[in-house]
């Protein structure tokens, strides 16, 4: 089974891979620090479930072009359901298990893969989510459009993250314009699939338990504030 945006070992040289391992470690540590303040009795099991679901759906390659497939990366989905900090951790654990036990993504490339899919993908997705939830009406279709766009943009961002890594440490010289065009174009198509899966999943969760969708929560609860409304989505 092919491994979507999972980089093999040997593709990017050791110094750049090592530098990205450092970046990934710092990003993970920051996310862990921030996540600790948010993890409560609901978010702990929900985060485990999101990680398991992302792992499962990552196995479901869908065709995008003749002879080319893609699959979910999950950063946008995680950011929507459990927030960006816990989301980074959830996608990270999927990538680490895949690299160590499923030969999916090189062990020496783990920093590269974490940086693209767990950090960059989730961060870009969360930016889109915050922006669009502010701009769009608080309806189910507003949430669906937000989720779709966040999924699409995050996949293209992760693909371009690889382009940068390859420019910095790729072993074989490849024309940058060709590489950026090929990666961006292919992952624009994969991003459509990511967007659809993300939107379908998040809207489904919002229909049964809107309180479990992090992105629909109001600002952090403070004792002085009046009771927050349970949701922005009209169910």
């Amino acid at each position: 089974m092919p491994s979507a945006l999972h980089i093999q070992n040997g593709i990017v040289n050791a110094p750049v891979s090592l530098a990205y391992l450092g970046i990934a470690a710092v990003g993970f540590a920051i996310a862990l620090r921030r996540a600790r303040d948010q993890l409560d009795e609901r978010l702990v099991p929900m985060a485990g479930l999101v990680a398991a679901y992302v792992f499962a759906v990552q196995m479901l390659n869908f065709p995008v072009l003749p002879g080319v497939s893609g699959h979910l990366l999950g950063g946008a989905l995680a950011a929507l359901l459990v927030g960006p900090w816990v989301g980074v951790l959830a996608v990270s654990i999927v990538l680490v298990v895949q690299a160590l036990l499923f030969a999916d993504g090189g062990v020496t490339a783990i920093g590269l893969n974490l940086a693209n899919m767990a950090l960059l993908g989730t961060a870009v997705a969360y930016g889109v989510i915050v922006l669009l939830l502010r701009l769009l009406p608080p309806t189910r279709s507003g949430l669906a459009v937000t989720a779709f766009t966040a999924g699409l943009v995050s996949v293209v961002a992760a693909a371009l993250g690889f382009v940068l890594q390859y420019v910095l440490g790729g072993a074989t010289q490849m024309p940058l314009e060709w590489l950026a065009g090929a990666m961006g174009g292919t992952h624009l198509l994969i991003g459509i699939g990511e967007g659809v899966i993300t939107a379908v999943t998040v809207v489904a969760v919002a229909r049964v338990r809107p309180d479990l969708v992090y992105a629909l929560r109001h600002r952090p609860r403070r004792p002085a504030e009046p009771a927050p409304q349970p949701t922005r989505v009209s169910v």
């Binding site: 979507a4 093999q8 070992n9 479930l49 990680a51 479901l60 893609g70 074989t172 169910v235």
Partner: protein
């Protein structure tokens, strides 16, 4: 609408994940994915091996550890549906287990540091709305 309790939601989500990884995964596309496909461009292939040309995939090496579930198959299980399905089920349980453990430890640490974080009654949003 009465919301299903979290006790219901969590197992339902897990069962869905197990079905996707255990059953649906065998019907997924086996074509190379986006990065793989781009990585192969420029090289000539014969029987899955690179025979010439310049491409990104040329520098790819075999996986460092392989692992018991390499390529989402279980070594020794020949039936492809069973092999992929079992690997998927094990993967979902492993990720759920490892993830839950990590998140629980992270939470316990933060509760211990901030002292009163755990003192309040559990927030039960059931019945809201």
């Amino acid at each position: 609408m009465r919301r299903p309790g979290f006790r219901w939601f969590l197992p339902a989500g897990l069962v869905l994940s197990l079905l996707l990884a255990g059953v649906v995964s065998s019907f997924a596309s086996s074509s190379p994915d986006g990065l793989d496909a781009v990585s192969r461009q420029g090289c000539e292939y014969s029987d899955g091996r690179i025979t010439g040309g310049d491409c990104i995939a040329r520098d790819g090496k075999d996986h460092e550890v392989g692992g018991p579930f390499a390529d989402y198959r279980i070594a020794g299980v020949d039936n492809p549906y069973l092999s992929t399905g079992l690997a998927g089920v094990i993967g979902v349980l492993l990720v759920f287990g490892a993830g839950s453990l990590m998140f629980r430890i992270a939470r316990r640490d933060s509760a211990a540091r901030s002292g009163s974080a755990d003192a309040g009654p559990p927030r039960d949003l059931e019945g809201v709305g």
